[in-house]
Structures are given as C-alpha cells and as structure tokens.
Symmetry: D2
Subunit: 370 residues, 4 copies
C-alpha cells in the first residue's frame, strides 16, 4: 500500500510540492527495450504547461524533464532504451513566488484541501498548495508519456466537452480541432463562445468547472479482471485522483440510469476481427473487461477555490475570517486537466495490459479470428 | 496486486460463482476485540437478499452466512470477539437452476460480461453469469457488516434516488421511509409512482437503470491521503466495481462543472468541534481527505442486459444470432445495489480509518478543540 | 498490504485456526484453462497429513479438500478447468480436542507464539495454537498444488537433510529414497539412525529441530527482478513465514561467507540451451534472478516448544509458573515441513513466472538459442 | 506490486544505476511532524561511503544527499519537519569511470548478475553493474535514516561477526569497538587479525565473504502479524534483498536445528514491564511477532565475483571466454553491508510499527503493566 503510488505492474510513484525544489516520479515495471528520450516526454509536458494562454495560470515553468535512471544507450542500442529498471523523472521548480501565499498560511480556502491537510497532518506546506497543488500532475503527464510507449496501436485523446453550463455540439466533434484552440475544445464554434465566457469569469476573479472526455482507441479486448481489478474501477480511481474531480463516467454514465435494457444494449454483428458492435453505450468495458471498442471516460472538474470574491472561512485558530485568494490561478483548472486525463488513461491501460499478459500471456485473445 | 481483493489494511478478498457450491470472502486486518456474531452480518445480508418483493429476482437464496475463522469465544470474552486474524465468511448456494442458462452458453448478451469473459479467459462459467453475477455482492455486504463495526460513531445509509427517468423530491427525503418500501426510496410519493412504473417494465420483460446515493455521517476528519490514496479515489473505485455501475459522483458531482467558484465554496464558520460548514458541495471530501462533513456518494446503475426483447448478437463461433434472455432476473438491479453501496462505503472508510491511524496514530485530529 | 496473503500475481490468502470450524485459502490470479481436480490437491495434502507415523502428531485429520470456486466443467472442457477467477479451497477440521488446551489458556509456552499473540491482540484462540498452529500449513500445501500446475516443466522436491545434530551423507543422496521412509530423508542410512534417535526424543517428551532442503529443477532463467522483487528475497520471506523456521539459505548459504571469490564462482561454458554452469554455489539465482540452474533453498526449523519437561514461565497475570505441555504434538515439526517448503517454493516460482511474463512477455529468454 | 519498492506502510522505492546521473529513493508513508535535515541522513551515508579505508572500493563518491520533497520549514515549525507527504532523496553520481567496464560489456562474470540481467531483459547497463551494483544501497541507507526517526527508543546496531572463516570471540563483543576500526568489528583482537587477512585477499586480487549481525534493542512487543506479515519473514526478505546475501538467520538460526525443546526454550520470569526472558534463542520474535526482547538477525554475504583471478565464462554470443575483472571493487563487500543491514532493519521495524498501529492503535501493549 502506498499513498502516492498508482498502478500495480506499471507503477508510478510521484513526489514533490508546488514550491519545493523539484517534483517528479519513479515509473517501475516498464518493459525493457522501449526507445525513450526526454524529448518524448517533453512533448506531453508542454501540452499541460502553464502560462500558454490567458486562460491558464501565469506561473512560468519550463517543466523541463530529466531522466535519471532506467534507460541505457550504447552503440548497440540504437538510441536510448528502457532497461526494465525503474525510470526516475525529475522536474525542477523554477518560478515559485512563495510570498504570494503568506496570506493563506493561516486561512482555509473554502472548498480547498487547506483545512483537510492541516486537520490530518498538523503541518502544511501552504506555498502554492504544497502537495495538493495541481502542479503534481506534471509528474503524471510525464509518466503517461512512458505508458503510451507500452501500448502500441492505442491512441488516447482527450477534449473539454463542457465548460460551466456550456456543452459542445456532438455533430461538430473534431479531434483535429482540439489542438487548434487553447481550450482543448473539439467543437470550433463552442471554442469561440467559451473564450469570451471565460474572459468574463477571469475578469470577475471567479472560476468555473468543466467536463473532460478521454477516449482510447485500439484497446485490445480482454484488459481488466473481476471483480476489484476491473478496468472501469481503476479508471474511476485514476480520474477521481486528479485535483478537483468530483465525478467519473464510463460510456453513457449517469444518463444510462434512465435507459431501458433494449436501449442500452450494444448489439453485436459478425465482424472481421471479433464482433462488430452497433453502439457503444458501455464505453468499451463489459463486466470490467475491455471489449475491443473505444474506451470512453468522462470526468467533472469543479471550479477552483482560489477566487477573488470574499468568502467566509475560519483561520487556523478557529476564528471567523473572510478570505480572498490572490496569486496566479487557473480560472478553469479543467482545461489543463485534458493531458492529465489522457496520461491517467494511458497509465491505467498500460498497467492492465501488463496484468493481462501476466495471467493470459501475449497470445491473441480467445475467440478472435486469426 | 490482486484481482479479487479490495482495500489495503481492511482487506476483503471475495470468491465464488453464481451457480458454484458457495461464495464468500476473507476479511483480513480487522482489529481484534470487536464483538461479532453471524447474526450481525445476517441482518445486512437479509436486506440484499433476492426474492423479497416482485421487483427483484425470484431466485430463493437463504444467504445464510457462516463464520469460519477469526472469532473466538470463551467465558472470558463476553460473546464471540474478533481475534485480529483473518475472518472467513461462507455462504452456500442453494437455489441454482443452471439449466436455465444452457441457452446462453454459446450466445453473448449485448452489454453483458459474457463476451468479455470469453475473449479474455477462453472459458466461462456461464451459469447465472458465473463470477460476473451480482450474486458476488452478497460477500461484499457480509464484509461491510464487519467494516461497520470498525467505525464506531459512523452511520452509513443508502437510498435509490432515481429509477429510469424518475427522480425524487428532495424536500420529501426521509431516511425512515427507505426501510418502509421495497424500493429503498426515501420519498414516499416517488416510491408509489416507481412501483407502478416498475410493474410496467417487468411486464414488458424489460429492465431499467437507477441512481443510488450513499451517505456516511460521523466520519472523522483526516481520512484519506494525497494523491492516489485519496478517499474519493477509493470510493470511486469501490462503487465502480459494483456490477452494472457506469458513473460515480462525490458531493455535487457532475453538476459541479456548471458552478462558479463562489457558488461551489463550502463556507466555514467557527464551531464547537472544528469548523461548521455552511454547505456541502464537496461531499465531505477536500483534497482527497475527509473534512468531518457527511461523505456523500452517488452512483449510476445501468439496466441489466438480461431482457425478453430480442436483440442482435453473435455466438461463440462469431455467427449472427438473436437473443432473448429467460431465467430469473432483477428488472432494476439498482434496487438491491443499495446495501451493496453501503457496504462498499463502509469498507472504504474502515480501510482509511486504519490507514489514517497507521500514519497519524489515534489521537484527536490536529486543529480540533478538545 | 495484507497480513495473511502471500504472493503478488499468484496470490494466496489463507484463513483458519487449528480448532475452528475450518481452514482454507483463496488463490487469486491463477491462469485459466488449467485442469484442476480436488484429487490433484489431495495428493499433496496427504503427504503433509498428521498421524501417518509415530514421528508426527497423533491428531487424525482427513484434511479433505473441497474446491468452492474458480473451476468449471461442461462437456466442452474435458474435465474441470480453472477459469481465471479466484479458487477457494476449504478443509474442515474434524478431530479437535480443545479441552486438551485448557491448561495453556493462561500460560505462555516459552518459545511459543502464545505470549506474542496475547501481548499484541489482547485475545487469543489458545486451542491448539489457534492461528499460530502449523495446521495452517495445510492451506499452503493446497495452494502449492495449484502453483505446480502453473509451472510446466518444473520439478520441485524437498527432503530433510538434518535432524538435531545429525546430517546426511551427500554421497548417498537419493530423491527416490525420500518417499520410502517416514522422515523424508534422502539417505537410507541416516533415515534408520534418525528413527531411533527420534524414538528417544519422543520418549523423553522432548522435541528437536531439523534442516529441510528444497530444490526446483527446470526453472527458466529470468525469474526475479531488482531489487526488492528478487527471487531469493521472496523465497527467504516464504520459508521464514513457515512456523518455527529460524534461518534460510540459498545455494551455499552461510558457508559462502567463508569462501574466496575464485571458489565461489560458478564458471560457465557454452551449452546447447544457454550456458552450462560448472558449479551451483549460487543456488540458481544471480542478482535476484534465476539463472536456469536448479534453485536450491534450505531452511532451519527449531524444536517445538510443546514439551513434557517443565519449564519456567509466567501466566497471563504475570505470575511465575511452571509449564508442561501435554496434548498431541510433533516431536520434530521439521519433518512435515517438507511438503510445506515445496509448496512455498512452488507458490514463489508461480508468482515470479507470472511477474516475468507481465514485464517481458512469454517469448523465449533473451540470449538463449532457439 | 512493485519490483523496486520495499515495505508497505513505510514504503521505500529506490531508483538509479551505478553509472547513471543519480540514484535516490522516495519514502512514502512517513508520519508528519518529525524533524528531518539532510545532515541527519548524511551521517548514516558517510558510514557506508566508499573509499574510506584500503578495505573498500577506491571509487570516490561524496554521496551527498538532497531532500527534494516532504519536509517543510517556517518560523512555526522549529526547523524542517516531515509533512506526511512523500520524501524524495537524491544522490548524484560524480565519480563514474565507465570505460573501466567496456571489458565486461560482452562478458559474464561468473556468480554475478551480468548474465541474469541479459537473459531477462535483453539489454543491460553494464557500467559498474548498473542496477545490480551495491551502489543502490546508498538509497537504502538514506531511507533507513528516516526510518530510525519513526522509531523512538529503538537502537539499531550492526557489526561484522565473521570474515572468511574467521569469527569473533563473543566474550570480547563490544559495540563501542565497532566504530573504532574500519571493519565494523566488535572484537578488537579479531579486527587486527582480519586487517592482515584482508590485506592478503586484496593483494591476491581475490575477494572474501562475511557474516553481519544486526541487533535492534527497545523494540516494543507486538510488531508483526500472522502468517505472511511476520516480522521475521519481512526481515528475511529485507536482508536477502541486499546484494550478495545468501543466508539469513533470526536468533539462533541454523544452530537451532540441533537443539532440543528444553534447550531452545526462552524461559520467562515476572518482570517490571512485561515478563523477563532468561534467554533469547528466538531472537526477539515469537510466532512472527516481536516479544520485547532484542531482535537479532544475521546474514551471510558471499565474496564478490569481481576478481583478478581468471575464470572460465561465456560471452554474450555464447562463446567460451576467460574473464578477469579490473576496476575498483570491494575485496569484502560484506564490510560496507553493515550500515545497509541496519537500514533494512530500521525500515522493516518502522513499517511494522505503522502496521501495528493501524490494527491495534497506539495504546500500550496488552498484558503489560502500566
């Protein structure tokens, strides 16, 4: 058991505080022989990096990753390759402004982890939220970049599908669009509307929630296991462990509760490589095990609690206070959660792919043709 | 790592198939000295038992539990008490009608685990769904009854808050009402409406989804840990591991995505024993750690895939077929999920209570008065 | 984490007390499709069964095992086969004479777990040693029988190589002989001598220690991992977890401390299927990873503390007392530890075989020909 | 499951290769509020540091440790204190001479991990042994320094008690002496003899084994658990995971096999704070649980396989070769294993102390006075 590790066979342990010297992770269990350079990881980190638009925190972090172990290169390896030993990744913090946080040293932001950390540990690194900061997710994204390498043929993509009360038009859903706007929005019309909506939120010193959807295509059938090692169970844990997430859905999710059995059935027809499904209400997971369909997961991110509107709170001594949070914050922390959600999906799938291989071996799935 | 275990320090391993000789579980890590009799467990099992109304499967199982180990009684112990060693619980299956299932031996119910199990394992105990049957949840409920004993002062209750498209009126929410109707409904008016709605579903040979809410009151602050041992992360995994669950929410859940920071803030005022919160959007969990407020969790259950309406599917050989599922099934499997959800909440909280005690000890939480 | 589970991917959880209703285990992670009948397990259990000679306890237990889950048979499976779901095994206790133990209810046998259990848990099932009884090892042997099925081509055998101060003559070592005498002795001359030596111990109401050697042949190279998932590290934990074991050695073990580098080197020559080793000081494990040589492990068992010679002790209230232990005990508990040691070796190897397959896949080891 | 983590609640994950950029560890689960400075850790590291006498490798490493996370200091904390979040420790490698190892790039040292790593992973960082180098133990020693802080009142000390065939005189055993000679020898007479003996080994370009004894005093009774979470089982795994260890003993260890029950009994008399034991054959552990007596553990270290005497081996292509290992090596790697053994003991005890507290709470042990 470990508080700060995730996964079983593809196992990620993260460390670091928002304003400490560095953050990073150790990835244990990665198969040997995979090509891995810092650049491969950096590309994903850059998508999550703060300060890239007016819609994210203005903290400037290079988020430059250094590989400390677990890869080896000589003239025989054709570039650096994983060796099967633990891969440690390090990202130094460079743009801390800890004095910004003196004001919240003794005050609890309503809805923030401030109070819970203090009540549990009796000590709290309040600078930038310390361990509870979303800055920790840089380590997840780095680990996710390695996880993707473990999963040949699997494509994992995420998008923001709702900001505040404003959703997207599914008819306009376009994965290409996601990279074209600063909001990871797959609908170009909604993207424009959201920008002006967010400008208003930002000017108000307020914040707003969002819903993110992550889809994995090319997932082989058979990943997952009864009844606590279910793929969806691990995905739910993974997404819910991301800062500010309050809900997770697989496939149709909550709306499935309103469906009748006939409506919810993903009917099957003969296909070339296993059955063809006529729908995907299940989100690619049946009985906790992947079916070969795209794995679809959504999660809800609440608005951040660091806002300029004064709120009632108490201080460390239990006295009544009002609080306003200055400093550099994301008006919609859900936006940068997209690469984080992708990384968690990648880590969960890599873990389950190794788990599957342990029990079943790496032959073709049963019942598939060829 | 274990496919069929749940929890870390309060650790439950379940076993058994729907139509095998027996099912049960081993609970490891339970503190010693707790009074425990089979009757204590039986009470919870009886709430989950099938065949108690026309709205659940007509399979007749006594679900009689036997304690095989981990308790001891002599004239000094004042009744049987836990000894700190593993507690094994056994429930024999008595009312299997396996021949009912010959028809699905070679057919995959759309939306069911049938296909996923076959594609993964190449062999499947198809009788009654085998390991994928909701019958496994009897073992969870039994374990949950022990978990409750580990949590003095914590009250865990669940209710169905939506069936199909029909919700409840929160103004009429009454925990007492839950035990008075066969649908675990906290709203007496909705309960009546649901009964006739479900009669229709049942007569159609169809099925319907539901949403269940579980609330734990009296949870001490401080349970949980950053950043993968979060209380909400473990709750999400726990609920998502229940059969047919497709979504999990903590506190406001998905609707929180539509809120602004000011609306979502649970403001705090001085209180007698820690702060008083003016709202509970967070569902009792901040930064993955309990705040002392009620822990609120909801989960969505899809309609069961065993229905009488013919659906298109394939058989084991990949040939196109139509399927109708006869046998004894729950028209709304969400109903009996209420005691299961409560049990999972109890297991997660017991586990986190032990985890908290390991790292912090059992003194009063920091920052609390007294 | 679990107190009563062993292994990671081939994971065994045992339960049960010496004089409770039953003992057993759950084996989780076993690959699907393996043929498994209760008879397969019973054969190993019968080798460990008490009451088979005058050198073991006279308690009469049939140790009949029942498979409760995880196997399935129909006309397509050609006998019962594992399904990949957890396999629960149950052995009912039938010959408890609990009143024999009333005398030790309040007294601590020097060298026994009596005191440690009471001081830890404050409650103790003292009947027959409760959970600390070697009776628990029946569950290990049952699990080991399944582990053997996971390891095609691996032969695991054990023998007693020392009883009290009396060793064997390695020149007379004969695996066939082990099954011919009641002492699992591989040296027919030593076997005779030990019998009369043990008769003396037994008549004195005393007990004596032993050393057991377990050898696994046919182990593929590559099992194990740096640096805490080492094969030898897990073997050490496994053997040390057996009742009364006080030492574990791999290969040359403690005598290796007296060797020089040249003497200890297992030189290598080209072979047909990987290198040929000219010696096996290492006991088949290099850097925590199997080399393809036989894996050799020895463990030392202390004499049991249940003896007729009076010893000084204290009672539950801390008062000085003398103690004599009557009841039915093994004069040399090491004898029946042979099948237990084999079972632990099998479980560790099965676990590591699955772990290896997870990270590497099931292709041929690198560097091997063919 | 994790290949490179150790412990359950006090959980240490190490990373790093001998000639990579850095090595280090993440310690997760440490209680909050403990004072911790890099200097506290450095003191232990300096005891293990190479190049301090002619009897250890001449590699010059400062082994300077940097704390990257998990501690916090402000004017309220009275120096840096642990926060309950993961503590990452980093040690940069500074004195690699990787070209020394080009010769073993394609050759397998007999008795070394070279071959096993290649056969498992198909790729190997051969520089200085890579991950299999004893250099990894620096991270263990660093983690052990933190573990010691978790254990108030516990004193953990180690000594070399045998080098090659030469033991110590127990009558001269003096813990103070251990720090006065470069061999961690508790017997001043033996220390002198060993020095000249080792000079001979060194001049021969050979190597030799050793036996280390580690003793923990002040361990509270009750640590450990049946039957796979035994304190001795975890100690065995811990010690066997140290490089080159081939045997582990608790208390009397292997010689206990030659004892009769009367001889091996640790008789008990009434004492002031729990019973007084008249002997400690058990090494402080009964039934896997600490008794309150000193915990005594010994382990055997084989001679290193890097020697100047030519040995027969094969190369990567399976061809016959002779090998001589140059480079900088410890003639007796057992010497520097003393602080490593202490660190492992500290980590195991810290882990079990937290595990005990989880299940039992932090009240006084049952049955103890006061």
């Amino acid at each position: 058991m470990s508080h700060n590790s995730f996964g079983h066979l593809f196992r990620v342990t993260t460390f670091g505080e928002s304003h400490g010297p560095a953050l990073g992770c150790v990835v244990d269990g990665c198969p040997p022989g995979l090509p891995l350079r810092a650049e491969d990881i950096q590309a994903d980190l850059d998508r999550r990096k703060p300060g890239q638009s007016r819609f994210t925190t203005q903290r400037r972090e290079a988020d430059e990753v250094r590989i400390l172990s677990g890869v080896f290169e000589d003239d025989r390896t054709d570039g650096p390759r994983t060796t099967g030993t633990p891969i440690a990744l390090l990202i130094e913090n460079t743009d801390q402004r800890s004095k910004d946080y003196a004001a919240i040293r003794d005050l609890y932001r309503p809805g923030h982890a401030d109070y819970a950390y203090d009540v549990k540990y009796g000590i709290r690194d309040y600078r930038g939220g310390g361990r509870s900061s979303a800055r920790e997710t840089a380590a997840r994204v780095a680990a996710g970049a390695i996880a993707r390498k473990v999963l040949p043929g699997v494509t994992i993509r995420g998008a923001v599908v709702q900001i505040g009360p404003h959703g997207i038009d599914r008819a306009r859903f376009d994965w290409e669009e996601v990279g074209r706007n600063p909001l990871f929005c797959p609908d170009p019309v909604a993207a424009k509307e959201w920008e002006s909506y967010l400008d208003g939120i930002r000017k108000d010193g307020s914040s707003i929630g969002a819903v993110i959807e992550v889809v994995a295509e090319g997932v082989p059938p058979g990943l997952g296991a009864p009844v606590y090692g279910k793929l969806d169970s691990d995905l739910a844990a993974a997404m819910m462990s991301i800062n500010a997430v309050k809900g997770v859905e697989i496939g149709d999710g909550f709306p499935a509760a309103a469906l009748r059995g006939e409506e919810n059935a993903d009917e099957m027809r003969p296909g070339n490589d296993g059955p063809t499904f006529l729908a995907n209400h299940a989100g690619g997971i049946l009985g906790g095990i992947s079916s070969g369909q795209p794995v679809v997961c959504r999660f809800a991110v609440k608005p951040t609690s660091s806002i300029l509107t004064p709120r009632q709170t108490v201080d460390r001594d239990g006295q009544a206070q009002d609080i306003i949070t200055k400093g550099r914050h994301d008006p919609c922390v859900g936006i940068r959660a997209v690469p984080v959600g992708e990384a968690m999906m990648a880590c969960v799938l890599a873990d389950h792919w190794l788990r599957h291989r342990a029990q079943i071996g790496d032959g073709a799935p049963h019942g598939r043709k060829g």
